[in-house]
Symmetry: C2
Subunit: 351 residues, 2 copies
């Protein structure tokens, strides 16, 4: 253990690690009894390992999928396992040459106050140092983190957005949506958001500079799309699925690209997922619908982070985080994503 | 009128043209009363025009879509209009320098015994001479016609099929399916068809050389796909939509391409189209679903026809047509497509 550093966060023999584990697989919306709260003693890292004190965790819609049994792009969280979560923490003890006590790191820390890693585990968790000169801790979970990477590569690589395109993004006030819309604007696109409620819509237009934002809770999305996308939709970045995907399918233009990033409206279904009944619009418009998983672009994150940090610095890009305090509030906080209650990237501040 | 030629087919002043027109828009499966039968006198072509005697018409699932109101990739057939149909005919009178009496031509002739065109109409109908040394009249409606072009460009351009891929095609014994499967085999793919009934499946495997064919009427398509596509599906060429599309979505591999060519299972729905409820498999597998319309590739038809005619000539490609005789049988014959009763490319022989 590296005892040379004297960071504000330290480990004592008496330090305990509060953790939240998956107790059982939820049916529909996760409830309190789907979780178990445990406390473990914190152990010193072995040779090559390190110990990280969690500062903040990223709460994401994808977490709901990780709680389900079955094949997906990533293994499900096992019953009894600490819930998977990406986050930012401070290295408080390191026997790994890549990290020193005091470093701020990002990676899969899990929903716990302390995360200890062997050398192999640190690699698997994707632990990497962050540079807070590029952005704050919460921005590193937002524009400079997974949501930002997802928006960046989804829009540019899968969506193939180019100047003059009309880009529509659902979940526009959410973590991924913020990046997608602002980046599309920077790239010279016309940008129309879809979000829930007038406050989010106003923020998206006035603060983030979208050309328009459709309040899906206010009614006729299809009519609003007609109004705001007179030339049709060239890129639709879909975070929600369900009826909104079907509405957008009625407005896509020739050669449109639909980026399937998520389907938050369907994640807590207890019945079958609602498939897009207007998918034949893909044929009529020679359009495509394509899925993406951000991890595939990991080797290009540094380039995207550098570009996005530049936009944060010069003020062309803003970010908004919705911060909930206290690890014990994780189960409740997660539900805000599905009710659409969160306003901005949802972050759980742990320490 | 060019009277120099003395072809077997000629026009007399007394010649009458029997036509089938769309009388009203069908609800669900088209019925007899959705059509009207008319007879018109045949008129001599004006300067630049020509008159074509229909030999054979192509009956295609897409026809059902043309009968519906509303925006699509092509305008609907108007009420009272002669039903749109592609076909082959013989020029019996021409005042157009591009065509001479006796020429065999392909194009949008409509469901009628004689088709007369002004110069502009001939262009719009895509009239082009055919060379029967490359294939028979019915082959020109099949492998060398629209279905063949659809299969060729759908598989190679949209599906991006390459040697070693596993290609699945539904409607395997149909017009498009034949070309897709045989071409994929020629290109070095593993090919699995999906068709209705043991006779079609046997023919597809034994005569066309597919690696396997799944009889969807026999039961568990999903299990059969597991068996025959052990490495997953790289390209799915979809002619049918519905449950089969959902079944294939459970078996696609990383980076798979789903070509949306049609959805014959849904064309006569009186309720909403069944959307693919497993579409999130596109995300998990970073796969895409893309629509196509064959007309977009019109300038490349000659190249594709030359290639496919070569395969017909050297025996690597076979074709099967299901020929129904008599224009008066059009309404009944069309229904064979939707019951799956046709075996091979459905052709209506008119004269």
């Amino acid at each position: 253990m590296n005892t040379a550093a004297t960071p504000p966060a330290t480990m004592h023999a008496s330090t305990h690690n509060r953790q939240i584990r998956l107790a059982r697989r939820p049916v529909g919306m996760p409830v309190r009894d789907d979780w178990s709260f445990t406390t473990e003693a914190v152990v010193e890292p072995a040779d090559g390992g390190l110990l990280v004190k969690t500062r903040a965790l990223s709460l994401d819609p994808a977490m709901r999928g990780w709680m389900n049994e079955g094949k997906s792009y990533i293994a499900p969280v096992a019953i009894g396992e600490v819930m998977r979560a990406g986050g930012i923490g401070e290295v408080i003890a390191s026997r790994n040459p890549r990290f020193a006590a005091g470093d701020l790191v990002t990676g899969a820390l899990g929903v716990q106050e302390y995360a200890s890693f062997t050398e192999a585990e640190a690699k698997k968790a994707g632990l990497a140092k962050i540079d807070t000169r590029l952005g704050s801790v919460t921005q590193w979970l937002n524009v400079l983190g997974m949501p930002g990477m997802t928006g960046y590569f989804g829009l540019m690589e899968v969506g193939q957005a180019k100047a003059g395109d009309t880009v529509v993004v659902s979940g526009a006030a959410g973590a991924v949506g913020q990046t997608v819309g602002q980046l599309a604007r920077i790239k010279g696109c016309r940008v129309v958001g879809i979000a829930g409620g007038p406050a989010k819509c106003e923020w998206v237009v006035k603060e983030l500079g979208f050309d328009a934002c459709i309040d899906y809770k206010a009614g006729n999305v299809k009519a609003a799309l007609r109004e705001h996308c007179p030339k049709g939709v060239d890129v639709y970045f879909d975070n929600v699925g369900g009826d909104i995907l079907d509405d957008v399918l009625t407005r896509i233009g020739r050669g449109a690209r639909i980026v399937i990033c998520g389907a938050i409206s369907q994640y807590n279904n207890t019945t079958a997922v609602q498939g897009p009944k207007n998918y034949m619009s893909l044929l009529v418009n020679r359009a495509r619908m394509e899925g993406m998983v951000v991890f595939d672009y990991a080797d290009r994150y540094p380039q995207a982070i550098a570009e996005l940090a530049g936009y944060l610095r010069d003020g062309r890009m803003k970010s908004k985080e919705d911060v909930v305090l206290g690890i014990e509030n994780f189960p409740k906080a997660l539900l805000k994503l599905f009710s659409g209650e969160n306003f901005g990237k949802l972050v759980l501040e742990v320490a």
